[in-house]
């Protein structure tokens, strides 16, 4: 399950993720990390069985968490099935099917955002997640 973590840069100094991994034994996969001057953001994948515990620990350490059940949304009324998103997505979330429709596996998205900028009809949007 994917979650987005928002944190202050000071937390980066601490081996936070390593601690949580050691404590829970959860294989946490870092999908994406952006570190800015005043805040940082990370998208991580947490195995389902350890999910609740990991989320609790992140919260305890003072990180803001949103749950990304569906990280990316497509407005199917605007999408024209051109396929440009299949070209740009580094993860391969979009696929051109036999019948030329474009399928998406939203749960694999790491919210890099490039497809949102490239989609010619503005059909794609990143989810804010549930807090």
């Amino acid at each position: 399950m994917k979650i987005r973590l928002v944190y202050t840069p000071s937390i980066i100094q601490e081996p936070l993720i390593a601690e949580i991994i050691l404590e829970t034994g959860a294989k946490i996969n870092i999908n994406r990390a952006d570190i800015g001057a005043v805040s940082g953001e990370m998208v991580v994948d947490v195995p389902e069985d350890k999910y609740n515990r990991v989320v609790r620990l992140f919260r305890d350490k003072g990180l803001k968490i949103s749950l990304l059940h569906q990280p990316i949304f497509r407005d199917d009324a605007r999408c024209i099935a051109c396929g440009i998103c299949t070209l740009i997505c580094p993860i391969g979330v979009f696929t051109i099917e036999e019948d030329w429709s474009i399928s998406l596996e939203a749960e694999r998205c790491i919210q890099c955002g490039v497809c949102v900028a490239v989609c010619p009809t503005s059909a794609l949007a990143l989810s804010e997640g549930e807090v």
Binding site: I80, G83, I84, T86, T121, S122
Partner: protein
Amino acid sequence: MKKTIDEINERIKDGSVAVVTADRMSEIVSELGPQKAFEEVDVVTTGTFGAMCSSGAFLNFGHSDPPMKLVDVWLNDVKAYGGIAAVDLFIGATQASRSRGEVYGGGHVIEDLISKKPIDVFARSPGTDCYPRKELETTIQIDDLNQAIMLNPRNAYQRYAVATNSTERMLDTYMGPLFPNFQNATYSGAGELSPIPNDPNFDTIGIGTRIFLCGGEGYIIGEGTQHNPRGHFSTLMVTGDMKGMNPEFLRGASFKNYGPTLYIGIGVPIPILNEKIAENTGVRDEDLLTDLLDYGIQRRDRPVLAKVSYSDLKSGEIEVEGRVIKTYPLSSYSLAKKVADTLSDQIKRGEFFLSESVKPLSTTMVQNPMRETKEHPLVMDVMVQDVITVKEDYNVQQVAKTMVDGQITHVPVVSNEGKLVGMLTAWDIAKMVAQGREALAGEIMTRKVLTADLDEPVELAARKIEKYNISALPIVNSENRVIGIITGDMISRLIGRGR
């Protein structure tokens, strides 16, 4: 044996007409042969759904009170052309919004009109005795307009060149994102389903042909601009009443770092009047070849890297000189199919009748490049030829001295054989001095050097300098020896003089 359009229209009326889509017709012709196909099929419907930049609309607003000549006009902050009478306007698909930039433009205004959304109008005028009003603000929707007529100067290209990128840099183009080093190629057009490939000699398509245009009824009114039948790049000029269109079959769009455009769905019915026409509608993706072009070359005449077929393109990859390039569509095949299917259904239900064209489109028209009367300077005209260079084994001191003596801020680094291997700037040297570090030119130079060509227009060199935020471009010969250099300063001086 022959059929006439009147006979086909009779069959549409009594419901006995035989209609198939162009992709199905290709199968029928190859299974049964053209003669049998002609006997079995009355109409073939074609369809395409792609970004068609050369599109727009004439709008008539009716008069305000007091009356006003709409001169400078913005619709949802997108500039419309007001230089036609008092209350006629033309809105073009690629015009970008004044406030929102490339993400919203004329194509979106056209879509919003057809979707019956409100549009904010702002207009200014100097005022005349007969049109005294100087400023106007109102909000309208399509039903408030007397007429809203789509008129697209160039649509439905017969085929379109495929784009790829040989350079080491990502390009954002109207052909979508092109990754460096031939990582992808993008193509447009529906291939065997597209209108013109099914009637390439214009046996039936002509002025007055009734078509499916964005869900409504439209007409072909002539050859599209840049119509080039001999080069197999024919195009259509089309028109239609926007009040009858359906937003499902068009979409305002925007390409990143290129700007707005409009995706349009067009379907042309081809009446199967004889065996020859049947044979032509049997065209297959593998018969339709198009050129693979290198968009890394920013000139009008881009080199053709290979000929590829639409069946190769649709397979998802092409092979060019032993290299596999992934291919991606920009137009929508699924909506192109929907256009052809919908037109087919309309004909079967007796809602769409065929028209006789009054004049076929030209099969001989030629297109010439622009005549340019003002010479643009080339890199060789402005570059400095006595280039000061340094060797890889120069130390910081020696490089600094060379720069100071030559009064230059950039210096190409060359190997012992005199070949270009890197670049150094005064900044690189200053950094070393500030850190008190010793190093050789070869260790601190930038190795990936962008260069310019002798016959490259200065304008293009200037764009490279600006886009990649560098300050000089060396010019090398075929042996990679530095034969000149052009700097941002030289270009600014030149432009300052010329304008």
